[in-house]
């Protein structure tokens, strides 16, 4: 699993990346009450808005950590937004993206680097 500075995680299998928000991000957001996901088939570039997560207090953007095409979205998080708080790095995933360039994922942080990054915040 790899991590972005915007607190998304990426799990690459073949050329398909499963993407969600990290446990740290879910904790910072607080109780998630609404998740807006893109439509399958949408093409995104790194840094584009990918999804929106709403807590009781505020709306937060989730940015695409890699470029590619959205192949699948997780209805479980739009139907039951609390899933994001319960298992952010598991069944609370957001989308699967067929990545344009698998090497892009290697440019993201590994867990140790991400944990170290969190210490700087």
């Amino acid at each position: 699993m790899r991590f972005s500075k915007d607190h998304e995680w990426v799990n690459l299998e073949g050329d398909v990346a499963t993407i969600g928000i990290t446990a740290y991000a879910a904790d910072q957001l607080g109780d998630v009450v609404f998740v807006e996901l893109p439509a399958a088939g949408k093409t995104v570039k790194t840094g584009d808005g990918l999804a929106v997560v709403e807590s009781v207090k505020a709306a937060s953007d989730v940015y695409a950590p890699v470029s590619g095409e959205v192949t699948e979205v997780n209805a479980a998080v739009s139907d039951n937004p609390e899933t994001v708080n319960d298992q952010p790095e598991g069944i609370g995933w957001f989308v699967k993206i067929k990545v344009a360039d698998p090497h892009e994922v290697e440019g993201l942080m590994d867990r140790a680097a991400y944990e170290a990054f969190l210490q700087t915040l």
């Binding site: 607080g30 109780d31 009450v33 609404f34 807006e36 929106v52 709403e54 807590s55 009781v56 207090k57 505020a58 709306a59």
Partner: protein
């Protein structure tokens, strides 16, 4: 992050010890939530009792400089100093009564909303207990001080703690500490002794629940807070849940739902306007307010239930069924007690009728919404039956 201008309430260390997440609000570093989180804190308050530190607000006492005459004469004199600034009938306050009122500008716009109380004790007549919003403190106190001139002295009491205890179990909890507090009616207050000092307990709040707002001297604040939290029915509640609770209760928030352009009638706060003083033309902005009262204002604050999609937050456009721009959301979010998004905002009166189908625009998309009666969640205020005269 705090800087040299950030202020701290006397309970700041207690919040940190409870694991609160802090945020700047009204110039203070305040708890936005504790470990339970906004959703649980909100629901706990509706079911049990929540303790809120609201010491960022501005409590003060206004006292006549020269105390002469009967208690009623002294009250009339102090009320007469403040009334020219506000919308309400301050002279008509009964001993121990508190009134929600509005500081008005010359156009009838709202400078702030505030509470003004009359002490119950005969020896303290000629005094008003005033509580203004955190953000309005400097302006409000300066206005009131100037209006009173040498005839009265304004003593700020915002160096102590103002603690709200809200929820269906609040009265039972507080009665263990201050026996007799359960007999206070909604919007009344009295003093209770704590050692050689006094706390002021008001039966009021900002959640729609029964509850109290308690002014505690700084020296007693920590002990009192800990004593409240020692009761298993009480949990600490942050400003996040305070906001979602007041939104469900349909209560406006200054700087969001109310500002200097909004009149009391537009805001749906006609109850806070003294009809007697208005009729006499003895009120700032009287011409506009009287006209709006008679003929209707050009916009009205309404409650909106968002029927689909994401919460509509402050600034979201309110649209008609055919996409016409009607107004904007001034407060909005997810209502934990309803499990759905709700909002308040201003629309023309023709669109303000209950059941009207409108839309709110979130991220460029129109989502169906319906005008509903305020409050969204019924108020549970403690209004004892009046003894028959």
């Amino acid at each position: 992050m705090s800087d040299e201008t950030t202020k701290f309430t006397v309970l700041h260390a207690a919040h940190k010890a409870l694991g609160a997440r802090m945020t700047p609000f009204g110039g203070y570093d305040m708890p936005v939530q504790y470990e339970a989180g906004i959703l649980k804190e909100h629901l706990w308050t509706r079911a049990h009792a929540g303790a809120f530190d609201v010491s960022h607000m501005g409590p003060a006492f206004l006292d006549l400089s020269v105390q002469g005459g009967s208690p009623d004469e002294r009250h009339a004199a102090i009320a007469g100093l403040v009334e020219p600034l506000v919308s309400g009938d301050i002279a008509g306050l009964k001993p121990g009564q508190i009134r929600y009122t509005l500081l008005l500008n010359e156009d009838g716009g709202i400078i702030d909303d505030l509470m003004i109380g009359r002490p119950v004790d005969p020896e303290f007549q000629g005094r008003l207990y005033i509580v203004v919003n955190a953000g309005g403190k400097e302006v409000d106190f300066s206005l009131i001080g100037k209006a009173a001139g040498p005839a009265a002295r304004l003593d700020r009491a915002d160096d102590g703690a103002l603690i709200a205890l809200q929820g269906p179990e609040a009265a039972e909890v507080l009665a263990k500490i201050f026996p007799g507090v359960e007999r206070l009616g909604f919007m009344t207050y009295r003093r209770f002794p704590v050692g050689r000092r006094s706390v002021r307990v008001a039966r009021s709040g900002y959640t729609g629940e029964d509850g109290f707002e308690i002014l505690v001297p700084a020296q007693n604040a920590g002990d009192f807070w800990n004593r409240l939290l020692a009761d298993e029915r009480v949990r600490p509640i942050g400003l996040g849940a305070r906001d979602s609770l007041r939104l469900e209760a349909g209560l406006p928030l200054y700087g969001h739902d109310l500002d200097q352009t909004v009149s009391p009638i537009e805001a749906g706060l006609a109850f806070a306007v003294s009809k007697k003083r208005l009729k006499a033309g003895n009120m700032r902005g009287a011409a506009r307010i009287a006209k709006e009262l008679a003929k209707g204002p050009s916009r009205l604050r309404v409650g909106l239930k968002v029927l689909e999609g994401a919460p509509a937050r402050e600034g979201a456009r309110i649209l008609g069924p055919k996409g016409a721009n009607l107004g904007v959301v001034t407060s909005g979010g997810f209502a934990p007690s309803l499990g759905a998004p709700i909002a308040m905002g201003f629309v023309p009166p023709a669109r303000a009728k209950e059941g009207a189908r409108l839309a709110v625009e979130v991220r460029g998309r129109a989502q169906a919404a319906e005008v509903v009666a305020l409050p969204f969640v019924p108020h549970q205020y403690h209004r004892p039956a009046k003894p028959s005269a």
